[in-house]
Amino acid sequence: MNYLLLIYANETETMAMGEAVLQKMSGEYMDFTKSIVQAGNFKAGDRLRSVSSASTVRVRNGKVAITDGPFAEAREQLGGYYLIEAKNLDEATDIASRIPGARYGSVEVRPIWPL
């Protein structure tokens, strides 16, 4: 079986932890990643940029609507994901708008931290 592990945290609280704690956590993440790579469990994983860099794509009546922010509605649940490479946000949102789910729900487009 494959599993997607979704990591949730309060961004403001995380940023308030201070440089030393964040450095330590970063080291722990590297160790953890190494351990699951060695064990053969790792397929992919990334750190996402802040929610303030998120955009949401919806398609209604054939029209693409792009909005600022991670505004999935409360009644919508995460149902799948694509990891894509695109030259900029316009290409990324264009691809997002072609996902069939964009016509019924919403697709959050979030940039990934470059390594």
């Binding site: 303030s52 860099s53 029209k63 693409v64 792009i66 909005t67 600022d68 946000l89 316009d90």
Partner: protein
Amino acid sequence: MSAPIAGLVETVFRRESGRVLATLIRLLGDFDLAEEARQEAFAAAIERWPSQGIPANPRAWLISAGRNKAVDRIRRDIVFRTRIAEALGSAEVAASDEADDELFGDDRLRLIFTCCHPALNHEAQIALTLREVCGLSTQAVARAFLIGEETMAQRLVRAKRKIRDAAIPYETPDASVLEQRIDGVLAVVYGVFTEGYAVTAGAHLIDAGLCAEAIRLGRLLQALLPGRAAIMGLLALMLLHDARRPSRISAGGDVILLDDQDCSQWDESEIHEGLALVEKSLRTDAQLSHYAVQAAIAALHVRAREDHATDWPQIVGLYEVLLRLQPTPVIELNHAVAVSMVDGAARALDLVDSLAARGGVAQYHLLHAARGRFLQQLGRGNEACEAYTTALHSATLEPERRFLRARIQALQGSFGAPVSG
């Protein structure tokens, strides 16, 4: 620096500042870096031009100087050294002598599309456009929004960070999405204008500076994307409203209704230009623009001056067209007001009541003010008074509040009730 040279340098700066910034943003791919580079380029010009003379192509000189300053800065910055310096090395350097206006025009258009990108929220789009395209100071933008300078600075920082982190492109959009993106840009320009025309809170009703910025943006778009019905329509709409601006407010800051406005105060050149643009916009083959229809309505109000009578039936017809293009409560209310001039207040009251019955407009003070007016015309003074009082509860502009209070007092006076509110 001798006085004539100082004056010339200042003129060059004022004229070229926006273009230089737009091109530097394209070359450097970063707003903050480009702003610093422009500042350093202008500082270098102040130092050198008085002794060396103003270069033949000042714009190219400033861009070139700014780019070099930025490259120096990047070289000092270890993190970005390889990545950006390489990109810059291979990028075509536009700051050559043959750099032409068309190229710089494209850069300004790119900048407008970036600032008005749909992945930024509407307030951020307006703030960023005023700051980066119009060149207003952060303080001036903050004042326009009636918020503190610190809050506005934060808003601008967040918007620029989103552009950078989400890789919002610095590009004119593809043809496939161009029309939709132009609509977004026009919404920003109109947002600046309406913000100027009726500042949403506070004592003053019109901020002429913002109206002028919006018209300047409209002209810039008209020059960069000529022949587009929606752009011509919006520019016409803004000109026809702006032309009547001086007659809309009394010397004491009070609202003057259209019928009582002194048309000798209207700006003739704006009216002339606006009327010509409406005609042109309506005559293009493109899809009818709601801005052009609104401008056509404004044009009929202006023309009423020559005919000594407003063509209300035609205005009703235009509002019906507009309702098909843009069915909003504001348009519905304006349609009802026009209907009252043709079919009378009873029919108009029905329309407004049906609009109110659909909900979501309880706080819309102009709706209650219009109801008050229709009821008054029907001789239902008590109900009119109630409607004006409801309007007063949600009106925020002091001149509008004074206007409503005067109406209420006149009504209460006419049937001997005590004056309050």
